[in-house]
């Protein structure tokens, strides 16, 4: 009983302590964050920009931005959405710089063109992953516009709640749902287009 009480008490205190240490600019707190999120942040950036060298640059910039802004971290906000929103904003800025033509002109849907840029063929990623069906799926996700790619990655790979995704993308919850549905429809369209006969492959375990 006492053990249960201690565990129940320990959880929130641990989180609070981390946020407080972060706001103090404690290097150890940031290093432990880096260790915890290194692979997930790198994966997210890879899905966004598809090039390992660019993802690495953005990874460095993300953590520098974290170090610069940690004292302004709002403890009421989750650490995860905060981290991913920093990485996402840097990736969007990069995409905007990489293809600057008419990006600031909004689309009729209200989305900016920078967010709608279709990713390049994820050939490097495909080679890295090897397995055919997996690489086909990764390739199809990579061909989606960034605005769809990010929402799919955050929901299915990062397994974020819809509210957290809304926080990362800085959009209302209803828009998250709309984007998710459109993203999944677009993904299925890509997969069916890639396969003879328009059939989806069996994605279940072999």
């Amino acid at each position: 009983m006492i053990g249960h009480a201690a565990l129940a008490w320990e959880g929130p205190v641990a989180v609070d302590t981390e946020a407080v240490r972060l706001r103090r600019g404690d290097p150890q707190a940031l290093v432990s964050l880096l260790e915890r999120y290194q692979h997930r942040l790198y994966r997210f950036l890879m899905r966004m920009v598809h090039e390992p060298a660019t993802a690495e640059d953005l990874f460095q910039m993300t953590w520098m931005r974290v170090a610069e802004n940690c004292r302004r971290f709002d403890p009421n906000r989750g650490i995860e959405p905060w981290l991913f929103s920093i990485a996402r904003n840097l990736a969007i800025d990069y995409l905007r710089r990489a293809r600057p033509e008419s990006l600031d002109e909004p689309l009729p849907s209200g989305d900016s063109r920078a967010e709608m840029i279709a990713g390049k063929q994820a050939s490097a990623l495909e080679m890295m992953m090897g397995e055919q069906r997996t690489s086909r799926l990764i390739g199809a996700i990579g061909e989606l516009p960034s605005i769809y790619c990010e929402v799919i990655t955050l929901r299915f790979e990062e397994e974020m709640k819809l509210e957290e995704i809304a926080e990362v993308l800085d959009i209302p919850l209803s828009t998250v749902k709309t984007r998710l549905r459109r993203a999944l429809d677009a993904l299925r369209g890509k997969l069916e287009h890639r396969l003879p006969g328009g059939e989806l492959p069996g994605w279940g375990p072999q």
Binding site: V31, H39, F59, T134, L137, I141, L180, L184, L191
Partner: protein, 161 residues
Amino acid sequence: MNRKFTEHEISRERMALAVAGALDENEERELTAHLSACNDCAVEFDRWRELAGAMRRLPTPQAPPAMVERARTRMVAHLMARTEQRANHRAMAWLLLFAWTTTLATWPILRFVSSGLASFLDVSFQHTWHALIAYTVLSWIAAAAIAAVLGLQHRRERSLA
């Protein structure tokens, strides 16, 4: 007939959101009810579920250790520099406060020493104002010299590190 067609269409629309866990309770209940009655939709929903499962099982590209180490080193160096900068600013603020306090306190102390205590000890200060100015200038020059020496020492330590 028309109602059934609408239900069918709505269910198809909701399947993507269902596998993303984005339906509310009511929508989910309606979809489940429709799937148990409509074989085509059940097959279609299985495809959506398989796709969602495959996305959740995608391999995670591993962050290269050298990249992570570089990020760690740069981040810690930045934080240490910022911490030191803040400590220096704080120390400067305290020093400034101390300097002003001692300067302002000098006058009443001198008045006290040159009047009551001096007459008691039989010591006379002929040039109180000169003494005050000389004391203030000397103390500020001494503080500036100490700050310069500390700065040079700090720069030497950084270049050796």
